[in-house]
Symmetry: C2
Subunit: 231 residues, 2 copies
């Protein structure tokens, strides 16, 4: 997160019009503001985040912050955009069962240490107050989940998943029971729950639940259900 | 929500020590404060909620609010406790497949109208700022999900679910992909996604994923997976 030697310019297209110039200074400024946003969110939460705080902690002048990002909202959204510009790729364990368990365990692992959990949790919380943060969060997760297409493509190749399985739905399904507990019901998560989320997703994939409809309507006919609704 | 003729005293045990007295006046005061909290959360969100706002909108004097609830946090938590004191029971359609789809569609239906969605969404958002709101939310959902034990018990009786299926895990599984999109990834939900969440949960139930461990360790041996991890 705080790797100051990274150079987002090299890997990614410009995310915000006007926010990027040739050379590394803009990238360094952007990273400094991002770090200040993460620290501020983690320590105080979105409602307490001010331009004054971000100027002090980033070492970037308030005037520059206002000119480049417009508002705290803009800085939070850009920090999230920057967080999405990493090199993360989904696990490749050799089986869909293994990949799903590894994905779910990454979620649990990422939230085990409260210090690691604070900033991502605050991003999710910020979206309740800021439409721009909500947009940035949607983009972040959309892009992150789309990287899981590789997992499903390999599974289809190996015959573990039906052709046409919706990778985005699979990626959301394996994360959802963990995110539900972390962000909504406020319950603890652990490896057992990670494995359960993975195994549930695998069962649904195998049953064809995530197969995109191709001309036919999606009905219970896909399912291994022993009893139809009106039966 | 604003049914002023309701009498929570008749149906439920006292949720907060000292907050309930014989007769209806306390119940009416509590309901008035609850309504003000819901309106305030829906219109302004948790960070903007003040005792002044709640006094004005409930018609209850600030001194009384402070004495009885201590703080805005206390009023939010109590409003959530009161929301949990309803008569909701899970659907009973005659099959597990039908009950799960009905449960998932209730979630989608409950968030279709932004006016209906605002207060519950703000409760979830408040938990990012308030530990008391987070505790109240955990209790609310824990109790709500526990009512779904009837769904799973009927399914076990009908032979649709294995004996020992964890009803709490099933209830969370069917809600999770929808709550993920509503509260985390900020994506739209619809009937198709509700049915997909229900069908995925049904497939996992059928595969025994939610069977509580009874002496044996939980392994991929429960699953219909074609390829074991190291295979």
């Amino acid at each position: 997160m705080n790797n100051s030697t990274e150079d987002p310019d090299s890997a990614t297209p410009a995310p915000t019009p006007g926010s990027r110039r040739p050379g590394g200074r803009t990238a360094r400024t952007r990273a400094a503001v991002r770090d200040a946003v993460l620290t501020g969110l983690a320590e105080h939460g979105y409602p307490s985040l001010t331009v004054e705080y971000l100027a002090e902690h980033s070492g970037v002048h308030k005037t520059t912050l206002y000119r480049r990002w417009g508002s705290v909202e803009g800085m939070v959204a850009d920090a999230l955009d920057l967080a999405g510009e990493d090199e993360w790729t989904p696990p490749d364990t050799g089986s869909l069962a293994g990949d799903l368990r590894a994905l779910a365990r990454e979620v649990v692992e990422g939230f085990r240490d409260p210090a690691d959990a604070a900033a991502p949790t605050a991003f999710v919380g910020a979206a309740f107050q800021s439409a721009r943060a909500a947009d940035a969060l949607r983009s972040f997760y959309g892009e992150r989940f789309s990287r899981c297409e590789a997992v499903v493509a390999r599974a289809v190749d190996r015959g573990e998943a039906p052709l046409g399985t919706d990778a985005g739905a699979v990626a959301r399904a394996v994360s959802a029971p963990l995110f539900l507990r972390l962000f909504v019901t406020r319950e603890p998560v652990d490896e057992r729950l990670a494995d359960q989320a993975a195994d549930a997703t695998l069962a649904a994939v195998t049953a064809g639940v995530f197969t995109e409809p191709t001309g036919r309507s999606r009905t219970a006919g896909n399912l291994p259900a022993p009893t139809p609704r009106e039966g």
